[in-house]
Subunit: 570 residues, 2 copies
C-alpha cells in the first residue's frame, strides 16, 4: 500500500533515502523539507569551492550529468516533493504529524506521515569566545556560509586569516585560503598536534611540516581567548600571542543536530547523537534517522562513535530507503575511515591511532615503515609512510595510518585494511594480504605487508625501535647522554653526517658489521640509522647475535626524520 | 640448535625464505643453489626492462638502496651462501642430501640438510609449433632470455614482432615492443578474447580496443600452425593468415617446475604443482616448497589453483622462513588478485570473472558500472569501469574487475574487495563498504558501493540489463528487429543520434518521461540509453510503473559502448 513519507533535512541522507525509496515504491509519496534554500549539495566539496578549484556553488549542487538538484529536479526526475525554506518545528508521534514553518512567511503547516526520516545533520561546535559576533568571523555551517566566505575572499577583503582548529576541515580550509588566494594563513589549535585523534604525533608532525613548507603557520597547544575589532575582526588573542586577522574561520568540530528528535522524546545519547538500531530506526519504529545527527557503533571498540561524513550519510540513506520500502537492510557501524589531501601530500587512516588506542585502554604498539609505493626498480615511484597500530599480546590490528605524495596509493592501502578491521584481524592477515601486484602499483612485498611484518618483529622483541620524535629528543641531548649514532648505510650516505658530527656519528655499513665488529663503540647505547629502517634492523639483529642488545632502531630511518622536519645537515 | 638449510632456487621465494630464516636464527647455516648465474631479481620487471623503462638488468637485481643482490651481497649482508650455476639433480630424502652439479665444470657434490626448501619456479609452456627452434623465436623464461630479447631489439634487428598469447605477459611485452621501440607488433591468441579467464569478454574488448588505438594488432581465435624462415624467423603462419615477423615471443603461460620434487617422490598434483600444506610443507615434513612450483588453494572455490606471481612467492617465502625457525606461520591460499598497466589504462581483478564463475558451476550475474572515480564536482577525475560478479540466489560476491586511466584508483577498489572475498561476502557488504572519503579520492557514494547496489537491483529483477556486446549485436540487427533505442539523456546529448538514426533512436529525457509517456513507442522492445546507465535505470523504473516492462537498460551507457570500440557517430 502506498505510504506517506516525510523527510526532514535534504542535504545528503535525506535525498538518498528519498530516491532509493521512490525507486522501490514509485507509488508512495515523499516530501522532503529543509530550512535552507539550497539542498542536496556535496558539503565535503566546500573547501574546494572556497579555494576556487570548484568555481561555482552550483557545481556542488549538480548531478554528474550537470542537472541542478533543486526542487524542480526532484519533482521531475524523482517524483519527490521538496519544501525548502521550511523548518520542522515539532513532531507529534501520536498523530504522526510534523509541524513545519516557512522561514520566509512564518506560515505553519502540519504534514502527516506513515514513516518519518530525520536527516537533520550537524551544527558547528561554538566556542564561547568573546568577539565571535564580529564581522569576518565564520564557521562553515553550510553552503550559504561558504558562499559568504568566498565572496569576501574574492573581493580582496582578506589579507590575513586565522583558522581555529587543526582538524580535517581546518587544514583543508587553510590550504584553500593560502594556496589559491595567497592569503597569509595561521592555524591555532588547542591540542599539541594537528589532526588530533586521527594520526599519531609523529605523522601529525610530518603533515604540519609539509604545510609549513607551504607557508601555513601553526600555533599548537594554544587557546584563543578573544577576538578584537571595531565592527570587523582585527586581532585574534590567544593565551600566548596576538595575531592580526581579516578573517577568522572556526573549525572546531561539529555536534549532532538532534533538538527536534529530543523534543519529540526520541532516545538521544549523552553526547547528543540520536540513538538508532542497525536498521537505523530511532526509539520510535516509525521514525528513521541517519547521517550527521546520529551516533553509530565503532566496529573497533564496540562503543558508540560519531563520524559526520557525507559518505556514511549516503550509505545510511540507502539503507533507510530500503527499509522504508519494507526491506531489511542494516548499517552495522564504522571503523572511521579517513582521507585528506593537503597540498602535495595525502593522509589517510582507519581505526585507531596509537594515542586513541591507548585512550581506549588498549596496550598497543605502532610499527612505522617507509618504503617505495611501487617496485623500487620502476622509474616512477614515491616514498610512502605507513603506521600500523597493533594490540600487544593478541597482535590484533587496531588501526592504520598512511601518508605520501601519491594520494591514491596511500588511500588504496588504507582501504585494503579498513573493511577487515571489524573481523578482529591480526598482523599475519596483513603480512599475507593479497594485494594485486605489478611493478607500477606495488612492490612484490608491498609496504602494507612490510608494516605488518615489522609490527610482528616489534611484538616479538626482535625489532627494538624509536620514532622520529624520540630521535629528535635524543639528538638534541646528544652531548649529555651516553648514546652513539651508528650509520648502517654505505659510506656515501653516511659521510656528510660523520663529517659534521664526528663525535656522535660513525659509519659502519651493515654488510661490514661482522668483519668490523671491533670498531663498534663499546659502553654506549647505539642508535642504528639507515635510510628507511630496513638495514638498521638487519644491523640490530647482527649486533644482537654478537651480544649487543643495547641498540635502538630508528623506524623509518633518515627518510622519516627528514619528513618530520629535522634536517641534521642544515 | 643451529640447522643446515638448503634452498633450491634463488629468484624470489628462495632469497625471501633464506633471509627471514637467518634473521630468526642467525646461528643456522643456509645455502642457496640456483642453476642460473643471475639470482634474486624482480622477474615481474622484465617487460619494463625490455621496454627500456628500466634501463639495465642490474636494476632488477638491486635492492632499493642500490646494492646488487649477487653472491657477495648475500654472504656479506645476510650471512647466506649462494652457489650459482649449480643445478640440483636429485634429493635423497633418507640421507637428507641434495645432489648438485655445476653447470660450468659438471662437478657434482652432495649437500646435506636438516631442512630443504624448493623454490624451483616455473617454466614457460611450450607449444609444439614447427619452426620453434628458429633464431628470433623466444619465450621469456628468465632474466638472461630477457637480456637476449632486448639486445636484439636494441640492435635494430626487429621491425615486426609477433606475440603468441594475449595473457598478461603477452600484452605487457606487446606494449614494451610497440611503445618505446616503435616495433610493428601483432598479437595472436587462440581464445576469442584478450586476458582470457581474467576479465569478462566486454572488459577484454575494452582493453583490446585501447591497445589497438596504440597500434597493436590482434588476431583472436587464431591458432599458430608454424614458423617459417631460413635460419631466422621470417613468417608466422596461423590457420587464417601469414604474418611477417623478425621476432616471435611465445607467452602462452607457464607450468610448475616440479621435476626434482616428483623424482624425489613428493606429492605432485595432476596439473604439475607440488602439493603443500598451509604451512607450505610438502608431503615430506623436512621439505618446504613455495612460489611458482606449488599449487595453492583458491579461497573462492576451495579447489587447488595456480598463480605464478612474485608477490605470492615473496609472502610464501616469509612463511617458510618463519616455519624453518620453528614458527607456525600459514599461507591459506589466494583469490587471484591481478593488475596490469597497458599504455594509459590499468586493469585489475580479484576472484572470478563471469566466464570463470560459470565454468566453476556458479549461477552468476555481473553488474557493470561506469562512474567518475572521484567526486564528480572535483576538477581532476576519470571515468572508471567496474564489474562485480555475484552469485544468484545468495548474492555472494565471486569476483571484481576494474579498468580505468587512473591505475591506482582502479587497483585501490579491487584491493578493497579482494581481502574480503574469502569471507564469502555478499553485495550488501560492498554496498556499505567504508572507503575513506574525500572529493579528491572518491564520490560520497563511491563507484564500488554503486556497483554493489547495481548488482542488488539486477538480482532483485529491478534493473534488467544488457552489456555493450549485446548492444552492438542488437544495433547491428536494428533493421530486422523489433527494438527501439530510447535516449533518456537531455536533448543536447541525444540530438546527434536522433539526427543520424531517426528511425531507430528517440530522445525522451528521463525527467520528462511521465509527462511525455504518450510519445514512448508502443509495440517495440525498448533499449534505454544514457551516458553511464544511471538515468536509463531511473527511466526503466518509471516505465515499469507505467506498465512498460519490455525494456533493457544498457549497463555503462554510451561511455561503455565507446570504450568498447563502437562509435555510432563515426
Amino acid at each position: 500500500m502506498p505510504q506517506n513519507v516525510v523527510i526532514v533535512g535534504a542535504v545528503a541522507l535525506g535525498p538518498k533515502a528519498a530516491c532509493r525509496f521512490k525507486r522501490l515504491e514509485p507509488e508512495s509519496r515523499v516530501i522532503m523539507v529543509d530550512r535552507a534554500n539550497l539542498i542536496s549539495y556535496g558539503g565535503c566539496g566546500i573547501p574546494y569551492f572556497i579555494s576556487g578549484d570548484v568555481s561555482t556553488a552550483d557545481e556542488l549542487r549538480s548531478t554528474s550529468f550537470h542537472m541542478l538538484r533543486d526542487e524542480k529536479f526532484f519533482r521531475d526526475t524523482k517524483d519527490i516533493d521538496v519544501m525548502t525554506n521550511t523548518e520542522a518545528i515539532s513532531i507529534d508521534r501520536e498523530k504522526k504529524t510534523v509541524l513545519v514553518q516557512s522561514t520566509l512567511d512564518r506560515k505553519k503547516q502540519e504534514l502527516s506521515y506513515d514513516k518519518l526520516v530525520l536527516g537533520t545533520g550537524s551544527r558547528p561546535r561554538c566556542l564561547p569566545i568573546p568577539g565571535s559576533q564580529l564581522q569576518g568571523v565564520f564557521s562553515v555551517t553550510d553552503l550559504n556560509k561558504a558562499i559568504a566566505i568566498k565572496t569576501e575572499v574574492a573581493e580582496g577583503k582578506v589579507g590575513k586569516a586565522v583558522i581555529i582548529g587543526a582538524g580535517a576541515i581546518g587544514l583543508e580550509i587553510a590550504e584553500s585560503l593560502a594556496d589559491l588566494w595567497g592569503i597569509e594563513t595561521h592555524v591555532v589549535e588547542i591540542m599539541d598536534q594537528v589532526l588530533p585523534g586521527i594520526v599519531s604525533p609523529n605523522m601529525a608532525r610530518m603533515v604540519q611540516h609539509h604545510m609549513e613548507e607551504n607557508d601555513i603557520s601553526f600555533y599548537l597547544g594554544e587557546k584563543v581567548e578573544r577576538f578584537e575589532g571595531e565592527t570587523r575582526i582585527e586581532k585574534v588573542v590567544t593565551d600566548k600571542r596576538i595575531l592580526d586577522a581579516d578573517m577568522v574561520i572556526m573549525a572546531v568540530g561539529v555536534t549532532p543536530n538532534s533538538d527536534l528528535a529530543e523534543k519529540a522524546g526520541l532516545n538521544v545519547s549523552p553526547r547528543g547523537g540520536i540513538v538508532v538500531t542497525k536498521r537505523l530506526e530511532t526509539s520510535d519504529p516509525n521514525i528513521y534517522a541517519g547521517g550527521d545527527c546520529v551516533e553509530i557503533i565503532s566496529l573497533i571498540t564496540g562503543k558508540p562513535g560519531y563520524w559526520p561524513l557525507g559518505s556514511l550519510a549516503n550509505r545510511q540513506g540507502r539503507v533507510i530507503g530500503t527499509n522504508l520500502a519494507g526491506g531489511n537492510a542494516e548499517f552495522e557501524g564504522a571503523v572511521g575511515s579517513f582521507v585528506i589531501k593537503l597540498f602535495d601530500i595525502s593522509v589517510a587512516s582507519a581505526g585507531l591511532s596509537i594515542e586513541s588506542a591507548k585512550k581506549e585502554g588498549f596496550s598497543a604498539i605502532s610499527a612505522f615503515v617507509v618504503q617505495f609505493d611501487r617496485a623500487h626498480f620502476y622509474p616512477k615511484k614515491d616514498l610512502m609512510y605507513l603506521e600500523l597500530v597493533v594490540e600487544e599480546g593478541t597482535g590484533r590490528v587496531l588501526g592504520i595510518q598512511g601518508l605520501g605524495n601519491t594520494g591514491y596509493g596511500v588511500v588504496g592501502r588504507i582501504n585494503a585494511v579498513a573493511p577487515m578491521l571489524k573481523h578482529k584481524i591480526v598482523t599475519e592477515d596483513i603480512s599475507n594480504l593479497e594485494l594485486a601486484y605489478a611493478p607500477p602499483f606495488s612492490a612484490a612485498m608491498d609496504i602494507l605487508n612490510a608494516v605488518a611484518n615489522t609490527a610482528e618483529n616489534i611484538l616479538a622483541g626482535k625489532n627494538r625501535v624509536i620514532e622520529p620524535d624520540t630521535f629528535a629528543e635524543w639528538w638534541e641531548k646528544r652531548d649529555s647522554s651516553n648514546r652513539f649514532f651508528l650509520d648502517c648505510r654505505e659510506w656515501g650516505n653516511a659521510e656528510p653526517f660523520v663529517g659534521k658530527y664526528p663525535e656522535h656519528w660513525k659509519s659502519l655499513p651493515q654488510g661490514e658489521l661482522r668483519a668490523r665488529f671491533a670498531e663498534v663503540p663499546k659502553d654506549k647505547d647505539l642508535v642504528l640509522i639507515c635510510n628507511t629502517g630496513i638495514r638498521s634492523y638487519e644491523a640490530q639483529i647482527t649486533l644482537a647475535q654478537m651480544g649487543r642488545i643495547d641498540t635502538y632502531n630508528l623506524q623509518g630511518g633518515m627518510a622519516a626524520v627528514k619528513k618530520w622536519g629535522l634536517d641534521l645537515l642544515e
